[in-house]
């Protein structure tokens, strides 16, 4: 029985180009208070364009209706839970939006004199310090714009230190359970990728690691807890094995939501890690970004951090550009400052004890979901899970129903799907991470939905395979979209 949703009318809406009419306006600029100019004279006629072909012209009313109608076709955290594994889709506090928009912060130009940017610099310094404390590391850079960007920065830092020590080495070890950005990053950083298989328990196989680590290995990239939601119990041993051969331990911090206030990567042997502020630290996903991917490092890596660094100069903040060992910039300016403000606001709201409480609730929620769903879905690994749990679709596959189908049917119950078919080491994975900002009501509705779907699979598998039924569009034809890509509007 579906209780969370009922269908209701949503407006149709054409594309902007189809609503456009010459002469419609949604803007008004002030009158020019300086003399107008003939563009052809100022720029040369050959440099001046004709009109922008096909560009829309709509009124303000049509503009607001257009986007509002579009917005109603989306699911969002504000509607309900996203059980997406390793995405940490927690509540995006609205106060974060307010403070990021305070004029002195929102209008600050990155090149304005340092004396007139002390507020922004203090915000960044405070966040660096907080993240260092949370991760147990010695220094933090806020430059990277997203997790993958942070990974690249982190691997480049490792390369730089190893180069200084005489040998940058050739390969990076990556578990077969890793997120796709890990090997992609290693390749961009100029390293070959060697996969390391997980043990039968789904965790790092330290025996295999010991065999694989040699002086050609620069680092092991690990996610902890791993993508099964399981804590890597052998992580300290792994760090020892690596360090003994002069290799480094890189941690993908995507799953930090299980560790904040409970355990610190710096304490269990990690040399370099990145964080995802748009996951653990509540900054909004906004349909795909922006994020921020700060990198935290042990002291030895500090000289290589991207330039500039914040430094204290008397009572003020200043930028230190004299960093000859720096790997350079990984982007222009200082970082996704607006995202950094939001993350700091989140940290201030929770505070030290509060952050730990959030972690406890996140793990409690995931363990609760596991316990309630265990009778209905196959659990490939028996180890205790932390903030997320991974089932497999083995049981349902016997009826010809796969994880993707179950996910689509979950939509009919009023939820966004969980993460489908990842990690790859589980056959037909269902990866579920509730996060701490889900209450018992929402969780119970989710659990009821999943159980109901499991029963539907037994009684009427076709029903599940053809889902969803209640959405604006039914399943879209991704095959034709890939065979004959249409990537822009063209007038017919």
């Amino acid at each position: 029985m579906i209780t969370k949703v009922r269908p209701h009318l949503s407006q149709n809406e054409a594309l902007l180009f189809e609503r456009s009419s010459p002469g419609k306006k949604a803007y008004q600029l002030p009158d020019l208070d300086v003399p107008a100019l003939d563009p052809a004279e100022a720029l040369g006629a050959e440099n001046v364009r004709a009109e922008i072909p096909g560009f829309p012209e709509v009124s303000e009313v049509e503009a607001i209706r257009h986007f509002t109608r579009l917005s109603t076709w989306n699911y969002a955290i504000d509607y309900g839970m996203y059980p997406l594994g390793s995405c940490t889709m927690k509540y995006n506090p609205r106060i974060n939006e307010l403070v990021a928009r305070i004029e002195g912060l929102a209008w600050a130009h990155p090149y304005q004199p340092e004396a007139l940017a002390q507020g922004s610099m203090e915000v960044m310094a405070r966040l660096e310090a907080a993240l260092a404390e949370i991760t147990g590391m010695d220094a933090v850079t806020l430059q990277p714009a997203a997790g993958a960007h942070g990974e690249l920065t982190g691997i480049l830092l490792i390369r730089a230190l190893l180069e200084k020590r005489g040998n940058p080495r050739k390969k990076i070890l990556i578990p077969d359970s890793a997120h796709g950005t890990n090997p992609a990053t290693a390749a961009i950083a100029g390293y070959a990728v060697e996969n390391i298989a997980s043990s039968a328990k789904g965790v790092l196989d330290v025996g295999a690691l010991a065999r694989l680590v040699d002086r050609d290995v620069a680092a092991l990239m690990v996610t902890n807890p791993n993508t099964l939601g399981v804590f890597e119990e052998n992580i300290m041993q792994a760090a020892e094995i690596l360090h003994a051969k002069g290799a480094m331990l890189y941690m993908d911090g995507a799953n930090m939501n299980a560790l904040v206030g409970i355990a610190r990567p710096g304490d269990f042997g990690v040399d370099v890690l990145h964080l995802n502020l748009h996951k653990t630290f509540s900054t909004p996903h906004g349909g795909g970004g922006p994020g921020a991917g700060p990198v935290a490092v042990k002291k030895a890596f500090e000289p290589f951090l991207p330039v500039p660094r914040l430094k204290r100069s008397g009572k003020k903040w200043a930028y230190d550009y004299r960093r000859p060992r720096s790997i350079g910039r990984v982007r222009a300016f200082y970082g996704n400052f607006g995202v950094l403000v939001r993350a700091l606001a989140y940290i201030l709201a929770h505070g030290g004890p509060g952050l730990r409480n959030a972690t406890v609730d996140a793990v409690l929620n995931a363990v609760y979901v596991r316990k309630q769903l265990e009778p209905y879905f196959d659990l490939p690994y028996a180890s205790p899970n932390m903030h997320e749990v991974v089932f497999s679709d083995d049981r349902q596959a016997k009826m010809g129903v796969r994880t993707g189908d179950l996910a689509k049917r979950l939509i009919d119950y009023g939820f966004h799907p969980y993460t489908v078919s990842f990690p790859l080491i589980v056959r037909g994975a269902l990866m579920i991470e509730p996060t701490e900002t889900e209450g018992k009501l929402e969780l119970d509705q989710f659990i009821e939905a999943m159980i109901s779907i499991a029963k539907e699979v037994e009684a009427d598998p076709q029903l599940v395979k053809n889902a969803p039924y209640g959405t604006r569009t039914s399943r879209v034809d991704e095959v034709t979209a890939a065979r004959k890509p249409v990537l822009r509007w063209k007038p017919s």
Partner: protein, 127 residues
């Protein structure tokens, strides 16, 4: 189902030998496993391909698979049909949707490949 005059690899490619010319494709089993094929990436004419090494790849919506060459040689012809209609590879993998033709540089290699009967048992065992 599997033509007797083809030779087959463990990676589910086939080759048809005619003199010192080879026609290469993927098997019906392969296209079934891949699902709806959306794109085929093939080498250009003149490129040298090597037994066991990737000569290109096949894409479905959610996956990419390398195609390993069943024989060594130089590409003499590339099937243009697949650029226009990759779905043909699902429909007729042993016929119209051949991938490339090559001039075999080491015809003896073919002796190590599987016969139709052997391939049939191989995929039967795989299941």
């Amino acid at each position: 189902m599997y033509p007797d005059n083809f030779r087959y690899t463990k990676e589910h490619e086939w080759v048809l030998v005619e003199g010192d010319a080879g026609t290469i494709g993927i098997t019906d089993h392969a296209q079934q496993e891949l699902g709806d094929i959306v794109y085929v990436d093939l080498p250009k004419v003149g490129v040298h391909v090597e037994l066991g090494k990737p000569l290109g790849s096949v894409e479905s919506v959610k996956a990419v698979s390398d195609i390993y060459s069943p024989a060594s040689g130089e590409v003499t012809e590339v099937n243009q049909l697949l650029a226009e209609a990759p779905e043909k590879l699902n429909q007729d993998p042993h016929g119209a949707a051949w991938l490339v033709k090559i001039h075999l540089s080491a015809p003896a290699e073919i002796l190590n490949l599987m016969s139709a009967a052997d391939y049939q048992s191989y995929i039967g065992a795989e299941k």
